[in-house]
């Protein structure tokens, strides 16, 4: 017995090793045992929970990259949406113009407003149609709601339009009920109010009468709506009339350009005074 204890104390590490190995082998043999299976399952569940937490922690560190990726996707999608929306709005405006029954759109040129310069005294529009599209100087620019302005200069693909709300713009107008004629101009300030001058105080102009372009105009065809009378102020000889414009210039996106009004004989007779002497 003593010898055994001496042997044990001398080789206890080896004995320990053998015992541990035996237990390990026993565990390997009994790995399908209920208790061991439960223990292993619990361990794996615990391990899975910890790994899940670590994964979510790792995900936090990579959020910057994820955000950058999402920003790139967002930018791409936003560009797509903007393109589609712009195309949809353009198409809607084009259809609106084509479906308008108040005038025949054939012979009219459709253009898009690509730039505008608006201030309280000087306004100008730029449209994406030039002489290649048949645009000429002094053509009338309009929308179904009414008169927009006239073309003042033309390049190959673009044209400059002087709108009604420009202090240099003047057009001869007539009221549709009382046939009162006057000269419409804009004196700056509010972009939806213009003034009509030279309407005699003896005329029967009423409030809310519609003003349209008259035949006297050198560039515009007659009958294009311009606005309606909202204020009549009598002066010594003439009325000062405020007209609420038919066109909303703040939301103008597409316009029509009417064919050029060609009346050379009329122009000639109004400018050449010698013609009067030829007739008896």
């Amino acid at each position: 017995m003593r010898k055994f204890f001496i042997l044990f104390s001398k080789y206890n590490t080896y004995l320990l090793f053998v015992i541990y190995c035996s237990i390990s082998v026993l565990f390997m043999k009994l790995q399908n045992d209920n208790v061991l299976t439960k223990l292993r399952t619990s361990g794996l569940e615990f391990s899975a929970v910890i790994n899940e937490k670590l994964m979510s922690l790792t995900y936090l560190f990579t959020l910057n990259k994820e955000n950058e990726r999402l920003m790139r996707v967002n930018t791409y999608l936003l560009t797509k949406v903007l393109n589609f929306e712009t195309a949809a709005v353009d198409e809607r405006n084009r259809r609106k113009i084509l479906n308008d029954t108040t005038f025949n759109p054939s012979g009219y040129i459709i253009a898009r407003v690509v730039d505008r310069k608006f201030s309280d005294h000087d306004n100008m529009l730029l449209i994406n149609a030039g002489w290649k599209n048949g645009i000429q100087k002094d053509m009338t620019v309009l929308v179904p709601e009414g008169l927009v302005g006239r073309v003042t200069s033309v390049s190959e693909h673009f044209a400059k339009v002087m709108p009604v709300i420009n202090t240099d713009f003047k057009v001869s107008v007539v009221s549709d009920s009382s046939n009162c004629m006057g000269l419409l101009s804009w004196s700056g300030g509010k972009e939806f109010i213009t003034q009509v001058e030279h309407i005699p105080i003896s005329s029967h102009l009423k409030l809310n009468e519609r003003m349209v372009t008259s035949d006297f105009s050198t560039f515009s065809v007659r009958g294009i709506p311009v606005g309606r009378v909202v204020r009549i102020k009598p002066d010594k000889l003439f009325y000062t009339v405020d007209v609420w414009l038919a066109v909303d210039f703040s939301s103008l996106t597409q316009v029509l350009i009417a064919p050029l009004k060609i009346e050379p004989e009329k122009v000639k007779i109004t400018t050449d005074s010698t013609l009067n002497e030829q007739f008896p």
Binding site: L16, F17, Y20, C21, R40
Partner: protein, 164 residues
Amino acid sequence: MTKAFSFSLIILCIASALFQEFGLTRLTFFNVSPDAVTVFLGFLAVSAGQRASTSFGFAVGILTGILSGNMGLNMLSRTVEGFIAGYFHIPEDSHATAKQKTRRFFSAVVIAGFCGNAVIAAGYNPLGLSPAYRVVVLGLLESFITLILAVILHWLFLKKSLVD
């Protein structure tokens, strides 16, 4: 072995097992990952002896076995690692230099790691590789990677523990 030292070893044992299972297993190179438990057992063997390293190897094997779902094989391989590493023990009265202790520590890590990997390779082959390839190629590769980890840990934490 004092009480405080034993307590520190238990904490280190649990920490190395958790670090191995939840941290280093994600760091794989050519299907092998460094082994923090082997480094721990190597350090323990050099400083505390063969009996302690074998016992701690068995204990840490239970822990890693529970966490990895392969108890018996893990217990066996860790016990073997602890036992093999124990041969590199340096007794306290040996007057060995820090350099000698460090060299023994690295040797313990490499040899124990290789033997432990051989035991695992013999009993568990999830990738269906040939046993020779698993034992020799992957065993040597894992030992080398574990040695790098041992060098890093020695440089960071264990330098003071292995002084003259």
